[in-house]
Chain length 444, copies 2
């Protein structure tokens, strides 16, 4: 993805800054203003792709020709843009960190044209991937220890999104993905059973089951709802026993109907047949609410295939994210737009024991006793710092933060996000910058 993956106004502004020599360091802060309905927290994700984008930022010759010939930038602007590389510094809470509204997901400090140009890509990766990681985390909370598998690839927003979704789900503790290319890229467990079409391609269900047991004796999960679910379960049992499949390698998948009632009936049939270790998998339009209903009712389901509703974060497919200039050339700045005001200066977030509020502070404030800072430097002089983007680290970080997260913020419905207090220093700075901006831009 090259530097043309941006909005036109970023390029026009960057050209204007370059022309005017406005290349002093600028700090932009990326944060989410408000949480969508029923969200009590956010899981930070997408930083790895942001850093890759920044490391390889440049316009190639054909892109520069496009900017000259079609966008009609001046030759001198095009030359200046052609020399742009990202040489800035980035601070962020590493992936997997749980954050709250107003807390930065990323802060970029770089010469103004560089920092401006990357806005679109930074917002895109972090908004999307944090949206999905958060949705997946909610499924984790609802699944009560049952295994979760990402089944979303067929309905994500394009093939690229299928990769990001598989990774975000893994970050939140999913046990595997159906998307083979993602499993390979990220070292995840590939998971797959059979589709209805497999059964329909044979003369009858029983013939399809026999063929499947013969071809995949090591992992034989029968899809039982093509015609009649309970008939299907009985056929699966007959075939598995006739084929001599050990019960821990056999299983069934339910994909329609009353999953709770069917799982109970299927469990009884399997147990009666002595197949006590055979798993029951469920899929079909699942999300955290349905998972919660099933686990609360004690559904005997071992593994859930969760697809579309997580892959597109169906009830809240985007976040109200912003990438705002907070400092330029050593001068803290802010925006006063109605309902969209921003706080000046580079930030830090200090966190302490569960149940205590986070503190949003200026970056250079001392760490209060008993607190730890959430933002760490992840890139300096345009090069990523080691260890800032491993999926394994992100998973561990998420598990740690999940243990910290208070129950009031974990609730699926009506949660209360952890409070974010502003430090006295930040309050004071905000008041001063606001007064100065008002004085300079008041009605004439």
């Amino acid at each position: 993805m090259t530097a043309l993956h941006t909005d036109l106004y970023e390029i026009r502004m960057a050209a204007s800054y370059l022309r005017r020599g406005m290349t002093e360091p600028a700090t932009f802060s990326l944060f989410v203003r408000d949480l969508p309905g029923d969200r009590g927290f956010l899981v930070a994700a997408g930083l790895a792709d942001c850093l890759s984008f920044l490391e390889s930022l440049y316009f190639d010759e054909s892109e520069l020709a496009y900017l000259r010939d079609t966008v009609h930038l001046r030759e001198s602007d095009v030359d200046a843009l052609g020399r742009i590389r990202f040489r800035g510094e980035v601070w962020a809470p590493p992936e997997g960190t749980i954050v709250f509204p107003g807390e930065p997901l990323l802060e970029v400090t770089a010469p103004l044209p560089q920092a401006q140009l990357v806005e679109t890509a930074m917002l895109n990766h972090l908004t999307f991937q944090s949206t999905v990681a958060t949705k997946a985390a909610r499924c984790r909370l609802a699944a009560a220890g049952a295994e979760l598998v990402d089944f979303a690839a067929r309905r994500t927003h394009g093939p690229g999104a299928a990769f990001a979704v598989a990774r975000a789900c893994a970050l939140a503790g999913f046990g595997g993905t159906s998307h083979v290319a993602s499993a390979r890229r990220f070292g995840l467990r590939p998971v797959g059973t059979m589709a209805h079409s497999y059964i329909q391609a044979f003369p009858g269900e029983i013939e399809a089951f026999r063929a499947f047991a013969e071809d995949f004796p090591d992992n034989t999960v029968f899809l039982v709802d093509t015609y009649d679910t309970i008939t299907g379960v009985r056929a699966a049992i007959d075939v598995a026993r006739a084929a001599g499949i050990p019960d821990e390698r056999a299983g069934i998948r339910l994909d329609s109907g009353d999953l709770l009632a069917l799982a109970r009936q299927a469990r009884r049939l399997l147990d009666d047949a002595g197949m006590t270790r055979s798993v029951i998998m469920a899929s079909g339009g699942l999300d955290e609410y349905e998972l919660s209903r099933l686990t609360a009712a004690g559904a005997p389901i071992d593994s859930y295939g969760v697809g579309t509703k997580v892959g597109v974060s169906a009830d809240a497919p985007a976040l109200d994210s912003a990438y705002k200039l907070v400092e330029y050339a050593g001068r803290p700045v802010m925006k006063l737009s109605s309902g969209k005001a921003t706080l000046p200066g580079a930030k830090q977030v200090f966190r302490t024991a569960p149940g205590e509020p986070d503190v949003l502070a200026s970056r250079d404030e001392p760490v209060p006793r008993g607190h730890r800072p959430l933002l760490v430097p992840v890139m300096r002089n345009g090069r990523r710092l080691r260890g800032s983007d491993s999926l394994a680290d992100a998973r561990r970080r998420f598990e740690r933060d999940l243990r910290w997260l208070p129950e009031s913020a974990r609730r699926l419905r009506g949660p209360r996000p952890v409070e974010v207090r502003r430090s006295a220093h930040l309050e004071d700075l905000t008041a001063r910058v606001r007064a100065a901006a008002r004085a300079l831009n008041s009605p004439r």
Copy 2:
């Protein structure tokens, strides 16, 4: 995107079919079962990417090694999969066609393993792109002739989705996109103004406006809401006149607050200054409902920047799409799962005058008098047929179908989709296949 962009079960099923010599022609039908809330129609989009995927379907050496070493397929399975190319036939309503639930968006006929393997990619492209094209079409209906511009790139589901969204919006008649890479790839008009950060980087708003007018005298749209909107409008007028910018090249953008009231005040101020041809652009969380409210109230807004809510189709980010086996080796098949039954055999849709129902028929039925068939062959023997995927053609097709679409289906709230009747032949075939499937798979 290679053949590993698929779900694991597709690969396992394909391997099993190959092992068993089950390579007779299979027909899969891809359709949407139900429309999401408030949708009265669907705009078909995504076919071009489907055909590109099919044309280049293969597993490379490293992918085959992955299937052998990590997925643990047998060597003979891996060899057989390594020889797979797509050599099938595809019928579809071309992009831009307006369709309804149950009408195919795509039908693939190919040797069973090939047709099975491509399920994930076909569902992914068509579901996503039709979702967004439909959302964009609803904005068209709401905009009452005002210009629409795609501003979604910062919040689409990844960078790849930004391209697909820009294209889907263009298909539905948007006049431009902010996403430069998409503008270049698809030959769209790139559109951009300035961000709040540009204004904040200068000592005050007026200094920023002066710099912008100097640097972009050919296209000077001032963002006026950084501090106080009406003050911003007055500053824009002063700067444009002082810089001698012709009024048709100047404009303002509103991005927050009460857009209707602010647009009216701004229009009055511009007109009073003699800038009657200067445009007013509005943006900020817009969707078809807000556009409709603004246009119904006669808001003097010339151009709308529409972003996140269209780019993720916020109120309905996915469709209930399915890719179902309907025929194998000359035998029509169907699935009986509760609530998810399918109709057997390859299909055609016949359409006639506005207000009349569509007819869902078997593909080989004669065209009824006064009707035209919606599905056409777009690929034969794995090669796309000429003219099946031009964006310009898709736009024309969409405009034609939009004129045909009855008012009852166009409504933004509580629309009634055009009725889809089944032909007598299809009803009869369905009854016969259902009886046969029931007989073969009844409880034992």
